[in-house]
Structures are given as C-alpha cells and as structure tokens.
C-alpha cells in the first residue's frame, strides 16, 4: 500500500485556482523532492499534506486513511525559519514533543522519566552533531545548526512523513552540502517517507528518489487559468547521490521549463 495517496486534489484561494489535478501515489520510504518556480503552489501542496490547509476538492490519504484535519505527530515538519522555539535550550527543544505526548497536563516530564527522555534526546542530538551545545539557546546557534536542531526535534517523534519546506534555503552553500549529507543519512537510517520543497533544482535531483515538478501551463494554453499541477513525476531509479542522474540535456530542459 502506498504511504501517501493523493487523488484529484485541487486548491482554490477566493475562487482562484492555485493547484489542480494532483494525482500521485508515494510508497513508504520514498524521498520526494518538490521543485518548481516560485508561486507554483509547491508550498501550498506541502501545507495540505500538513493539514495546515485543506484541499478545495479531492482527497489525501496517509497509509490508506484520510489525512487528519489538523496537524499531528504523524507528520513532522521543518520550515526555513521559526522551526525551533527560541525560549527553550537545544535539549529542551528536542525533549518538547515526547513531553507533550507523555505528560498531558504538565507537558513536561520529571524525575526518572525526564532522565530517560533526556538520554533519548541526547542520542538524537548526537545524530545531528549538536550534543556539545545542548544547553545553549537557539539564538546562539548558526542557521545550519538551528536547522539540525529542527530536524532532531521532528525526528524524535518518529513521524510517518517528514515534510521539509525549503529547509536549507537560507543557508550558505558549504553548510547546505553538509546538511544534504546529514539528511540523506538520517533518511536512510530511519526509512521515513520524506517530502522536501525546494526551489533549487540541483538540490532536488541530488537528494530525491523521486522528483515532482510543479508548473503552470504556458499562458497560451486554454487551461492556464486553472492553476499549476505536477508536470513531471520523475522516478529516479537508483539511490540518490550528488551526481546528476539525468542527462544534462534533460536537466536543462526541465530547468528551462521551470525557471522560464
């Protein structure tokens, strides 16, 4: 069974179509990158997966069940900004989610349970390389470190789906490369299904096992006023690597389509 099934989804804002005819089935463990020009609805697509917004029509299913009407722990998210809580230390940020789950009223654990959770959280911080700064506040961290923290914070909930909205868009190229390696390793180890929105085609192709290209039809097309849709659904055959998988010619063609 597919982890995520999307059937005939369309989204309108005040009657203006943004997305239409979205039909895909994504298997568990796939790494889907969502690419496209700005304003083509790729973030809207992600927000619908997150239940931050609801489709105007069509349906989204996760593991065969209709998606919950509001965000929940089955779908983790990392945004470009505002993903970590500035008033909590690095460690507290990671301990937050399990605290919510295990302590309904106090929203935090005490005593032996807290110690056990701290140990668990430290393992996640170790995995993203932040164990040394666990008592710092996020404001003291670099942008890349904040995104590592956001990823650890999402992973400790073991979500079925990890949704990334331009997570590395604000980082410098060197940091970005490190983050790609980290993300690829975490994805392999966890076997999660990942959706990642990016405006960087190179990033989309190097990270994903599957690339979804969102685009509007050209203005001459009669359907132009009907919003964007998935114009290419590229199943990349082999494990993703930093090398281009598609021939340069094909890559260029999509690049022109998307950015033109």
């Amino acid at each position: 069974m597919s982890a995520v099934t999307i059937r005939n989804v369309a989204k309108l804002y005040d009657g203006v179509p943004v997305l239409r005819d979205i039909n895909i089935a994504v298997d568990a463990g796939e790494f889907c990158t969502v690419v496209g020009a700005s304003g083509c609805g790729k973030s809207t697509f992600l927000r619908m997966l997150l239940s931050e917004e609801r489709p105007s029509s069509g349906e989204i299913r996760i593991d065969g069940e209709p998606v919950a009407p509001e965000p929940g722990p089955d779908r983790g998210v990392v945004y470009q900004r505002y993903s970590v809580f500035p008033h909590l230390t690095v460690l507290q940020n990671v301990m937050l989610g399990p605290g919510f789950l295990r302590a309904p009223f106090m929203a935090r654990l005490f005593g032996a349970k807290a110690r056990a959770l701290r140990k668990e959280a430290m393992q996640y911080l170790d995995a993203v390389g932040l164990a040394a700064v666990c008592d710092q506040y996020p404001a003291a961290l670099s942008g890349g470190m904040q995104q590592r923290l956001a990823i650890a914070q999402a992973l400790i909930m073991r979500p079925k789906l990890l949704l990334l909205d331009e997570p590395f868009g604000a980082l410098d190229p060197g940091t970005r490369k490190d983050m790609h390696e980290l993300l690829r390793r975490l994805w392999r180890d966890s076997g999660m299904t990942v959706f990642m929105v990016t405006h960087d085609l190179q990033e989309g192709f190097s990270l994903g096992t599957r690339v979804l290209v969102f685009d509007k039809p050209p203005l001459s097309d009669a359907s132009a006023a009907r919003g964007a849709t998935i114009t290419y659904d590229l199943q990349l055959k082999r494990r993703p690597s930093a090398d281009a998988i598609w021939g340069p010619a094909h890559f260029k063609e999509i690049q022109e389509n998307v950015q033109g």
């Binding site: 505002y82 500035p86 929203a107 999402a154």
Partner: protein, 274 residues
C-alpha cells in the same frame, strides 16, 4: 571633526553626566528656598532642608499622637497593598484574556470588540460609579486600578500572542501538543517578557489611579496624606512623600526588570549573543 552622534562618554563619564541634572535641581531648590526664606521666614512653599528632615523624622520614626501609628509606614503599607492587589489582579486578567483572545479565534470574535471599546473608557470617569456601587472602602480603589490597567494588558498580550509565528503553532501541533499544552509551553513563556514590560509600563497609570482614588476617599495612604496636608500648604510633608512614591515606583520597575532577566534568560542575553 567627528559627528556628534559618534561621541560616546566613558562608563564613569556617563554616570557623572547622569548625576549632573539631579545635582543641578537640588542646588536650584536650595538657592530659591534660601531666597524665599530670607524674605519671609514663615514661607511654606520651599521649606529649608533642615525643616524637611525634621518632618521626615517625625513621619517615619515617631508615633502619631492621635492614632498611635507611624504615619509614613502606615500610609506606605496601605497604598502598596492596594497597588499590589490591583496590579496582581489586572496582570492575571490580562494574561488569561490576552492569551485566550490572542490564540482562540472564537474567543477573539466574542470578546475582541468588547475589550477594544472598554479599554477606551476613561477609568477616572468610572470612579464615581465605583464609589456608589462598591462603597468608599478598599474594593473601589483596587477595582479602579484594575479597570485602569487590565484592558491595556489584555490588548497588549493578545497582540503579542497573535504575532507569534503561525509556523511555531503548527510545529507544536506536529509535536503532538494540545491547545492547553501550547498555552503552557509555547505561548506563556514567550509572552512572559512582554507581560513584565507591560506591567512596568502600567506602573505609572496604576499609581495615578491609586493616588486619585485615595485623594477622594480614604483614611490612610500616601495619596490621602498628600491631599490631606495640602490644606495647610505643608510642602515639608508633600515633597518627601512625592520623592518616596517616586522611589517606590522606581524600585518596583527595577525589580520587574530583574525578574525578567531571571525568568526569561533567552529574551535578553541569548538573543543578543548572536
């Protein structure tokens, strides 16, 4: 020649510069007090420092013959009690209503317009109603402070809550947080600095309403004393009382600032370290 905006005093220099206006004010007072007393030894408007000191000793250390209490402390105790109860109640109300209307759309739709209108009612205009309804006792004075301060805090906090990034609230939901848990661990700690700042800004109005209420109907209190001795032009009482009230307000402001640094370390140091 460097621009004036680029000239910075040293640390010690800044302290001295800050002291200059105070010293100047005191010197001016002494000069004019001396001039007036030279012309008329019975002048009451600008009493000599010695006379003010005698009065302070009488008010702060000697029991009042009629009531058997030491007036300054009894007045201070009565006023601070009213002020603290009023501010505490207003803060609690501001916090609860601010979070509820800032975070819960149904609450905002229901109470937003009411709060917006009520906060425009001049509290002093309501004071007679309070005295009529609640009597001349402590409750009316405390309620005046609450009415004067709470709507500001409610609106201030509601705005701050609604300014929290939407992404943060979604993120908390993906971490399995319930609405209550979001209030407890995401919203409350993050509006704490703003709440403390709001209370600091409310200190001025709170004192204003307190003294106004005491001036009209009270048997003790700092404001009561000032307005009582006004009839005798007793500047030797009024001036120390005003200075004392100012010191109290300043100390409260300072303590609140300290409190903010202690309970919200991330809001001051952490944020600026970057």
């Amino acid at each position: 020649m460097r621009r004036i905006i680029n000239w910075h005093p040293s640390r010690a220099g800044a302290f001295m510069l800050g002291a200059v206006p105070f010293i100047l004010l005191i010197v001016l007072y002494l000069i004019f007090s001396d001039l007036r007393l030279a012309a008329n030894p019975n002048d009451k408007l600008l009493p000599a420092p010695g006379r003010i000191w005698d009065t302070i000793v009488r008010l702060a250390m000697v029991e009042d013959r009629r009531s058997g209490a030491i007036l300054l402390w009894r007045d201070t105790g009565a006023s601070l009690m009213r002020l603290f109860i009023g501010l505490a109640a207003a803060t609690l109300a501001g916090l609860c209503v601010g979070i509820a209307t800032g975070l819960i759309p149904y609450m905002r739709s229901t109470f937003g317009p009411l709060i917006a209108i009520v906060s425009m009612v001049p509290p002093m205009a309501v004071l007679p109603i309070l005295f009529i309804v609640l009597g001349l006792g402590e409750v009316a004075k405390i309620v005046l402070i609450i009415i004067g301060v709470a709507p500001f805090l409610m609106r201030d906090l509601a705005i701050r809550v609604s300014e929290l990034p939407r992404a943060q609230l979604v993120k908390a939901q993906t971490l399995a947080a319930s609405s209550w848990q979001i209030v407890l661990r995401v919203v409350l700690p993050q509006i704490m600095p703003r709440l403390i700042d709001g209370v600091r800004l409310s200190l001025g109005p709170a004192w204003l309403f307190l003294i106004a209420a005491e001036a009209i109907a009270a048997t003790e209190g700092l404001g009561y004393r000032i307005f009582l001795v006004r009839r005798y032009l007793a500047m030797d009482v009024i001036l120390p009382y005003v200075v004392w009230i100012t010191l109290l307000a300043f100390a409260m402001d300072y303590l609140l600032r300290l409190l903010k640094r202690i309970i919200c370390p991330w809001a001051s140091d952490g944020a600026s370290r970057r």
